[in-house]
């Protein structure tokens, strides 16, 4: 990655957000990323938005289960177990 020596620009920083949140950046990359965030309210807000996005995705409920399918599956389990 072309992150050697130079300071990050915003366009590069936003591409590192997922790796940062996964703790997958090298020590050097992480330090550079955090240094950029300290000086950049836009990227800091972006990082928070990504966190909020992940939280929203985590709140998605599964669809409800069709009671007929449920009954069929339980019957299948009973049949299988009688053998």
């Amino acid at each position: 990655m072309a992150l050697l020596g130079k300071d990050l620009v915003c366009q590069q920083a936003v591409e590192l957000v997922t790796a940062y949140l996964d703790d997958a950046l090298s020590w050097r990359q992480r330090r550079r990323f955090e240094a950029h965030l300290r000086g950049c309210p836009n990227c800091s807000a972006y990082l928070e938005q990504m966190r909020a996005t992940i939280a929203s995705t985590g709140r998605i409920d599964p669809d409800s289960l069709d009671p007929e399918i449920r009954d069929e599956l339980i019957k299948l389990f009973r049949r299988q177990h009688r053998r």
Partner: protein, 253 residues
């Protein structure tokens, strides 16, 4: 006999943490479940479905396994209630239609029922279920889907967000605090759900497993047979798309 009380609703919750209590909580929990389901069945013809009683029962996976092997159908029902819709969602990200996804999940359950005695508990029950489901879905979808997803090239973010020097063209406004606003949180989750349905399948699979189901990156790599780097690119692209969509929603556009 016909009191105006609505039927009880029982939700079961499978413990997936290490913090589940060590004592045997399962037998009384199962008894309660049976009692409650009998109540629901007796009152089944009532129109009012508001819960008069909500029980949340935490069941440890070990206990569930023991009960499943013993042929306890309440335990199997708990498993179906917990995972069926989630397996359909996962299968749907691999096969072409909802109907095929339902079939894949039916096959998954059959494999579970037949294989429960062979399950060694080296992975969690959830990971095992997901493994069976992904493998079935992939073989149904055909050989082409079995090859690992390819990294899309280039940045995930829209180039139009940035100036030529790589800085933002406009201010990124922080989102309002969503923690206290349940309605807003539910709206956003619902919106995220629709965006996920439109993601390219490899991104969709990774986002569902990582962010909806909460699997770790190594679990996801293992499940989908992809590298950490590939997984991260797909996740990052998916999240970037969802963030943009939620941002539009929050701005009311």
């Amino acid at each position: 006999m016909f009191s105006p009380l609505p039927a009880p609703r029982v939700t079961t919750f499978l413990a997936q943490t290490f913090f589940a209590p060590r004592y045997d909580f399962f037998r009384p929990a199962l008894r309660l479940l049976r009692l409650a389901s009998r109540l629901v069945r007796n009152e089944g013809d009532r129109k009012d479905t508001r819960p008069c009683l909500t029980l949340q029962i935490v069941i440890r996976e070990d206990d569930l396994l023991v009960a499943l092997r013993a042929g306890d159908d309440t335990a199997f029902a708990t498993l179906v209630d917990t995972y069926h819709a989630r397996l359909v969602r996962l299968a749907r990200s691999i096969v072409t239609s909802r109907e095929v996804a339902e079939e894949v999940v039916q096959e998954t359950w059959l494999a579970v029922v037949r294989g429960i005695d062979r399950f060694e508990g080296r992975s969690s029950l959830r990971t095992w279920l997901f493994h069976i489901c992904v493998n079935r879905a992939r073989s149904t979808a055909g050989k082409e889907s079995r090859t690992s997803p390819v990294d899309p090239q280039g940045p995930a973010a829209d180039a139009g967000w940035f100036n030529r020097d790589g800085s933002w063209t406009s201010t990124v406004e922080p989102w309002p605090e969503l923690v206290d606003d349940r309605i807003m949180a539910a709206t956003l989750a619902d919106h995220a759900k629709h965006v996920i349905e439109e993601l390219p399948p490899p991104q969709r699979q990774v986002v569902i497993l990582r962010d909806v189901e909460g699997l770790t990156s190594s679990e996801v790599c293992n499940l989908l047979s992809i590298t950490e780097a590939n997984q991260r690119v797909l996740l990052h692209r998916g999240r970037t798309r969802i963030r943009s969509a939620l941002s539009c929603q929050l701005r009311g556009g």
